[in-house]
């Protein structure tokens, strides 16, 4: 096993451990992610496997296929994160709006009033 394979394998195992440990997701997604991580380790240790799959779908090298998949996964996740972010922002806005309207002031106020 070369050094890069060692580094990648350890990184993937670490990520898997972090994921299972810290994400309170459903069992089904835990299983799916575990399969994905295992596939990752297989691809690292036996790179020829990715070549076979790549050739099967019409891509020259396994590394290229991985790159294409990575790009798609990256942008899909980005979209999910963006919409999630937007949802949180909308919720925050509604809370601030409610606070603001509830504490609306009718001016003029007497100088003795506390502002």
């Amino acid at each position: 096993m070369s050094i890069i394979q060692l580094i990648l394998t350890v990184s993937i195992l670490l990520l898997l451990w972090l994921y299972i440990r810290h994400f309170k997701s459903q069992l089904i997604s835990k299983i799916l992610f575990s399969i994905l991580f295992v596939a990752g380790i297989v691809a690292v240790i036996f790179p020829e496997v990715t070549n076979v799959i790549a050739n099967y779908v019409g891509v020259g090298r396994g590394a290229d296929l991985l790159l294409y998949i990575t790009v798609i996964v990256f942008y899909t996740s980005l979209t999910f994160i963006y919409s999630r972010f937007k949802k949180i922002e909308n919720r925050q806005t509604e809370i601030i709006r409610l606070l603001t309207i509830n504490s609306a002031k009718k001016l003029p106020q007497k100088l003795t009033d506390k502002i």
Binding site: T79, Y82, S83, K86, E89, N90, T93, I96, R97, L99, T100, I101, S103, A104, K105, K106, L107, P108, Q109, I115
Partner: protein, 225 residues
């Protein structure tokens, strides 16, 4: 007598806010200032005026401030409301002109435009004219409604309109969002010629051309997602 609310979103316009509001005090309108989390003390400038003062505890953006104003007007049983800029570039004399189609022709929304009258067109700086022409085309493509002035903050709405329109874009994209919602809710609308006076102050505070690009990107993102 109908209840007209003037909604003035305000972000750090301490220098001019009083000058903008004072002439409104003589008119039969309710003035609502939405302080969008300014770090300048806006309240101390207008403490003695007969107005409604609302403050976002943090800065959310002009679209959010307008929506807060609309929610508040709804709660106060307003009949009509007017979006009015804090920097004083809109003319008080135009307000009645904007309200007339709402009252007499039962329009839902009246939009101010600086491109309906030769004289007001001449007052628009050259680079802004080009920028706004581009915005007009982009807006037309995105909303299907072709207006002569794409980014005029001067608008008047009846109760039907402001109870239906719901702005979710907190930033400047709201200008296009409003037009999208006019279409979506099948509101009737009309453009009215209004004057915009570009003071040194409003030029400084106004949007930079770069900002226009970021609005464009936001629009595309919104359309795609």
């Amino acid at each position: 007598m109908d209840k007209v609310f003037i909604i003035i979103p305000c972000y750090n316009e301490k220098e001019v806010i009083r000058k903008t509001i004072l002439p409104l005090m003589a008119l039969p309108y309710q003035v609502v200032v939405i302080d969008d989390g300014s770090f300048e003390n806006i309240l101390e400038e207008i403490l003695d005026l007969n107005i409604h003062y609302l403050r976002h505890p943090v800065n959310l953006g002009q679209g959010a401030a307008l929506q807060t104003g609309m929610d508040y007007a709804l709660q106060c049983d307003a009949d009509y409301l007017v979006h009015f800029d804090a920097d004083g570039q809109h003319q008080i004399n135009d307000i009645e002109k904007m309200l007339t189609p709402l009252r007499d022709e039962q329009r839902d929304v009246v939009l101010g435009s600086r491109f309906l009258n030769k004289q007001t067109i001449a007052e628009v700086p050259f680079y802004k004219r080009i920028l706004l022409q581009m915005a007009k085309v982009i807006n037309g493509i995105f909303t299907g409604i072709w207006l002569s002035d794409a980014h005029n903050g001067f608008r008047a709405l009846n109760r039907n309109a402001f109870s239906k329109i719901r702005l979710e874009e907190n930033n400047m994209v709201h200008a296009t969002e409003i037009i999208q919602q006019i279409k979506y809710h099948e509101l009737t609308y009309q453009e009215v010629s209004t004057e915009i006076i570009y003071t040194e102050y409003s030029k400084q505070k106004g949007q930079s051309p770069l900002n226009a690009i970021s609005i464009f990107i936001d629009l595309i993102l919104k359309k795609l997602l």
